[in-house]
């Protein structure tokens, strides 16, 4: 468990926040300039905040009040930088083993063969960093951080400098890391909601150097108050679904608590549990069960909360048999449909709105 309290002021920017993380992947989300990298650098010891306290599993890494500051090399935090930062004069193998000699004797962690296999970098071992692609560099950087047996892995937008296909190349490795046996907690900094929805267990939302929300991913993503923070086009609940069947026309049947959904592009085998990200702007509400619609994804829901936005829109929190959904409708629709807390209605989800990249696990 990690407890963080930081206060830092520089160049007209003012950071003042505190949050905690538990195991699994905690995503630190915010727009550019929200202070994400400042936070992660302060955790790694690469930046000394004006005031702060950082406690990792009971060990105080930083406490400005008591004058405690553990230097970066003794913190044992793996750091995967946005720009990989491999050592240009060493080949991949030597990059990977760079930190091994500094890990405490008998420390628990991945061994060389496991990491190389996990990341698929066996063919790269004798190559020089300058000859690697962006995605390959990131995989090596990840392996390098894992092999120094960190207690916590810090990842600063590891995919931000990669294009779409390269991102898809890395994401499965991160999922394997999350679901694998390493049990390594990860703090994952990102401004890409799709990555977070796919990877994170817990979400910490930052805005202008302040904490805006924190909690379990499913809770925060389904919170109407988080819509302006995530962006109206990016906001949307994440729910878990079981893959039941794949039809020949390319559609797959997935079971959620309130019923079944027919979705295209699901790669996961039958019986697996996947995450679905349902964008709030792609959920349509109806008071009656609609007939004759082209969409077959209709779930009975109950209105949990009506959250008016700043503009003409409103965010509606929905309960779908225990799963939560988020819908974004106009304030006029709220009035016309007379949407109120506790009211039953139907949510229509267009099949095409669940992109293949948003499904995973």
């Amino acid at each position: 468990m990690l407890e963080v309290t930081l206060r830092h002021r520089f160049d007209g920017f003012d950071l003042d926040l505190s949050f905690t993380t538990e195991g699994g992947i905690t995503a630190l989300f915010g727009r550019s300039g929200a202070g994400k990298t400042t936070v992660i650098n302060a955790l790694a010891g690469l930046l000394r905040p004006d005031v702060g306290r950082v406690v990792l599993e009971g060990e105080v890494l930083l406490d400005t009040q008591r004058g405690i500051w553990v230097p970066p090399h003794r913190r044992r935090l793996g750091y995967v930088f946005q720009d990989a930062r491999l050592f240009p004069h060493l080949d991949v193998r030597k990059n990977l083993t760079f930190g091994a000699r500094y890990a405490p004797r008998g420390s628990q962690g991945a061994d060389f063969e496991d990491v190389v296999a996990l990341l698929g970098i066996e063919p790269l071992l004798d190559r020089a960093p300058a000859t690697l692609s962006g995605g390959e560099k990131q995989r090596v950087a990840l392996g390098r951080a894992l092999l120094c047996h960190p207690r916590l892995l810090l990842m600063d937008e590891p995919l931000a400098s990669l294009d779409g296909p390269r991102k898809q190349e890395i994401l499965p490795y991160l999922e394997r890391l999350r679901d694998g046996g390493l049990g390594l907690p990860i703090l994952y900094v990102s401004h890409a909601v799709d990555e977070i929805a796919r990877l994170a267990d817990r979400l910490v939302l930052l805005q202008n150097g302040r904490l805006k929300a924190q909690g379990a991913l499913f809770d925060v993503m389904a919170d109407p108050a988080a819509v302006p923070l995530l962006g109206v086009r990016e906001a949307g609940a994440v729910l878990e679904a079981d893959v039941i069947a794949h039809a020949e026309d390319g559609l797959s049947t997935l079971a959620v608590r309130a019923g079944q959904l027919e979705l295209p592009g699901v790669q996961a085998p039958i019986g697996t549990r996947v995450r679905l990200r349902v964008l709030a702007q792609d959920v349509i509400l109806s008071r009656q069960r609609p007939e004759g619609l082209s969409s077959v994804n209709i779930l009975p829901v109950r209105v949990d909360a009506v959250h008016p936005g700043d503009g003409p829109g409103a965010a509606i929190a929905l309960d779908a048999g225990g799963d939560r959904l988020l819908a974004r409708v106009t304030a006029r629709a709220v009035r016309d449909l007379d949407l109120r807390e506790g009211m039953g209605c139907y949510a229509i989800i267009k099949a095409t709105t669940v992109a293949p990249g948003s499904i995973g696990r």
Partner: protein, 237 residues
Amino acid sequence: MVSFGPIMDLDAAAWAALLLSLRVATVAMLCSLPLALWVAWILARKQFRGKGVLSALVHLPLVLPPVVTGYLLLLSFGRNAPMGRLLESFGIGLAFHWTGAVLAALIMSFPLMVRAMRLAIEAVDPRIEAAAATLGAPRISVFCRVTLPLIFPGILAGAVMGFAKAMGEFGATITFVANIPGQTQTLPSAIWTALQVPGGESRALTMAALAGLVALAAVLLSEALARRVARRIAGAR
């Protein structure tokens, strides 16, 4: 056409001058290497009051007339100067001694070495070093395993520059340690002496060719080494 035949007929005094110059330049270069690296590091990476003064002081021998530098050395380390007497009591005589030539060469070549190394250090991305620290490497390990290999071509360039400058140093040396054949007469001093003697031109020319050869060899060697390092970093194995 220049004939290299006479090289074989070098007289004892010329040989002595060549060997002394090689010894002075090598010792001066090796002595100033760690110090130059340290000063280059400070100038490249540290921010402090008086940095400008330190930089000016280091570069002063580059712009000062060499004879003035030699004279200042004589004033500070001469037999009658306090520093000179102190060193003399430890058995280190500098004035009119070959070690004095080393000091003169060291001071004259120092700015060139610092310059080359500073440029190399400034070219190293501090974020790479930060990455090494997050992997658990203490500062000294970061320097030895990351910074040093990356700036090696710069150190090499600085060393060759320093060596060549020390080989050719004339003004400060002759002022500080004079021109005693077999003791303080370096190759440039010997060339200069030969030119003062009627009919000494052929001797002077031979020694000049020799000085040229040494300089050329040093530069070629460093180029080859630097290319190898650069190739390794670029990844073409």
